[in-house]
Amino acid sequence: MTTATASHDDHHHGPEKGLMRWVKTTNHKDIGSLYMWFAFTMLLVGGAFAMGIRAELLAPGMQLMDPHFFNQLTTMHGLIMVFGAIMPAFVGLGNWLIPMMVGAPDMALPRMNNWSFWILPFAGGILLSTFFMDGGAPAFGWTFYAPLSTTFAPDSTDFFIFAVHLLGFSSIMGAINIIATVLNMRAPEMKLMDMPLFVWTWLITSFLLIGAMPVLAGAVTMMLTDRNFGTAFFDATGGGDPVMFQHIFWFFGHPEVYIMILPAFGVVSHIIPTFARKPLFGYSSMVYATASIAFLSYIVWAHHMFLTGMPVAGELYFMYATMLIAVPTGVKVFNWISTMWRGSMTFETPMLWAISFVFLFTIGGFSGLMLGIAPADIQYHDTYFVVAHFHYVLVTGALWSIIAATFYWLPKWTGKMYNEGLAKVHFWWAMISVNVLFFPQHFLGLAGMPRRIPDYSLQFADFNLISSLGGFAFGASFILLTYIVIDCVRNGKPTTARPWASAKGLEWTLEPKAQYHSFNTPPSRALIEQESQNS
């Protein structure tokens, strides 16, 4: 990582030298980088678990591990990817970009910002340390349904609960910080409807986080008391109800999936207009669609629970509400395509990732619509069809947008340009292998392969083999990605302030490598209007 940027730094002090810079920093750019590197490390760790899973599933029979360890891998893969990789990566992007995009000098609560980051490595460390405990890591799936996660869980579950609490603190503090920054630190001349879409989507996401994370904290606290203090929230023998756990979990869990995708919508809404050289088709309808999705995300949670024995009226309501989500999501997709329509497109790496996002995320949307049809969900539920669905929306949705954002803003973060040729090779490698990995899983699910099984009947062998080979190729693509990013930081060619000619946004008015302290004086109304997406 580069250290001093003294030449760009006309403020009274620059970054501290050495390791303590990163420990003590309250600078939004430093903290953004910390978040991104932490998320990337966790992505590699969670990816390594996925390689273990795909290696065991390469062929029928148990070859590499026992079923208990397999369950630990699937559980930790999910937890690490959701809480360790995707969420921190978006907080990292938010940290880096939001102050620059709203013309603020830093986040509103910089010390809390430092704290909310530095909780993460400890939470992640505690979570990963459970692998080395007696009885192994949590093995009940990332959804940790009671009573498998209470009465029947390994002792390490209490550490898992503590880690989830810490991750929740961190997320809530991050969300408060973003709300405070956007609402209080925004340039005085910037109206809400001048804000870039990434800021809008993150603002709305923050409210989702504040609403959802305490519910998760409640769920794990009830687990804790059920396990250790003799309560019976989820234990029928004591008058509790295991299905209540699922209601509480998914009341968190469904907003959670939009927490992981709304900022992605924001990222793509920046990249497509830039490379289509055309304004975003419907700025205000994108804002309203985001808000509608956020609202709907709170009232559809039980579509994850169609088979728990809900009354038929409940199932009908949750089916209708779920189907409604297709409407604002459709508005977004139509807007992106209308933005591309009759544009003058070029296909630099960020644009490739963004178009690929629209294509593959929409496929995940179609399977989502199918899953929302309650009677059909009887056959899809807990099969590989679901696995395919949520990997299409989370990998080729959320992760894709994070990679797109990284390539798009990397020049602004480093002042240097990445190797475009290699980045395109990487894109096509990942794009093809991810589909080899996940597309056959639709077939596996429809043919009846349940998820979370370590071994399977022989008729599933062919597609599992294909999927595993795709998985290894996809995993290997991240070695190239690591190289491209490090190569850019170290050896990249110096770039200009606005490397993408048609890019709009206040961040592009800064120096090629954004100065350590930016917007010490707020931008003018004229500049804000000139850089607005809502023109």
């Binding site: 070859q63 055309k278 419907g282 209308s338 099984i453």
Partner: protein, 369 residues
């Protein structure tokens, strides 16, 4: 144009049910009215998605190819159109309503279990299914077949040879054809899910609660399914096999089972020799206990303690019986087994693996219940 038509018809042929089934690409239609309805619904939504995908992706890729700078495209600057926004809000709503109506009909039908001719109670255990015929007085446990457990770490040829690898059990559920059957589904420990794809029945088994589902099966045959809710270590190893037979064969099967049940009840009343107990105990152990405590009694400490040298297996018989009957922590209860089987397996645990515990008779178990 001709080539296009040929291509399209080939595509349609490829997508026909037969080919789908052969390569395991699509959902199977199944053998109940519900499974047919679900299949039709699935195909309808699928084709709606395909049509939308063709339009949306068609527009996107046309734009990607035609409106590129390298082809000299000059960017138009249009944006914001209330008309377009309204159009692409209202049209999807209409399509969704079109899907919701048939979906609601199917849902209401499949949730109505009031017309059943008979009931079967299904209880999930870690990691096996228990079937009870309340009216007929039949009850049994269905485990993954031993021959399949043996080849999990075996060779591909062995897995090929057992047939229906991992989808075979030691005792099939037997159901009559053309009869409306209500399934009452519950669990004894964690949440399981009883799923037979061909019936269109998949329902969570919640501990302490009873869920229901129904099916009227149209065709005689053998149908296979699996547990569909993560339920711990051997979640992947608790299959379901159902033999659907003619009504006459079903009646015959019921009377055979009732005779067997009577014989088993009698055997619990006699005093067994140690050798008899050990033989019977070994087979009960391998079916029910070896998954965690291992065939050689070494267990998987510390979660699943070893049998060898265990203070329980070498201590007082009453404590040992208590743990097997009622479970402890992660160890589930085994009270659903018969008294003779329990006495046999406890005796086996106390005398195999180098242990030196006492012999337990069925009557000891009966009085401990």
């Amino acid at each position: 144009m001709k080539r296009l038509t040929a291509l399209l018809s080939a595509l349609v042929a490829m997508m026909s049910t037969n080919v789908f089934a052969e390569y395991g690409l699509n959902m199977t239609e199944g053998v109940t009215s519900i499974s047919h309805d679900i299949y039709d619904l699935h195909m309808m939504v699928f084709w709606v998605c395909v049509v939308i995908a063709v339009v949306v992706f068609g527009a996107m890729f046309y734009s990607v190819f035609a409106h590129r700078k390298s082809k000299g495209a000059v960017a138009a600057q249009f944006h914001e159109s209330t008309k377009a926004e309204l159009l692409w809000t209202i049209v999807p709503v209409i399509i969704l309503i079109g899907m919701a109506i048939p979906a609601s009909k199917v849902l209401i039908d499949l949730e109505d279990t009031s017309k059943a001719d008979m009931s079967i109670k299904i209880t999930g255990h870690q990691w096996k299914w228990q079937y009870d015929y309340p009216k007929e007085g039949i009850s049994f446990i269905s485990n993954l077949a031993q021959s399949h457990k043996d080849v999990v770490t075996g060779t591909d040829a062995e897995r090929e040879a057992v047939g229906n690898y991992l989808l075979e059990v030691d005792k099939h559920l037997v159901l009559p054809v053309d009869t409306s059957i209500r399934f009452l589904i519950t669990s004894n420990d964690v949440i399981h899910n009883w799923w037979v794809p061909a019936f269109g029945v998949k329902q969570d088994a919640n501990p302490g609660f009873i869920n229901d589902a129904w099916a009227q099966i149209d065709e005689i045959g053998t149908y296979r399914g699996q547990c569909a809710e993560l339920c711990g270590k051997d979640h992947g190893f608790m299959p379901i096999v159902v033999d659907v037979v003619s009504k006459a064969d079903y009646a015959k099967w019921v009377s055979e089972q009732q005779a067997e049940a009577k014989a088993a009840a009698d055997s619990a009343n006699k005093t067994w020799s140690k050798a008899e107990l050990m033989t019977q105990g070994e087979s009960v152990y391998n079916t029910n206990c070896a998954g965690c405590h291992k065939k050689d009694g070494s267990g998987m400490p510390p979660i699943f303690p070893a049998m060898t040298g265990s203070p329980i297996a070498n201590g007082a018989a009453a404590d040992h019986i208590g743990i097997v009957l009622h479970g402890k922590g992660g160890m589930p209860t085994f009270k659903m087994l018969g008294d003779a089987d329990l006495a046999a397996v406890i005796t086996y645990e106390r005398n195999a693996f180098g242990n030196t515990g006492s012999v337990v008779q069925p009557s000891d178990v009966t009085s401990a219940r």
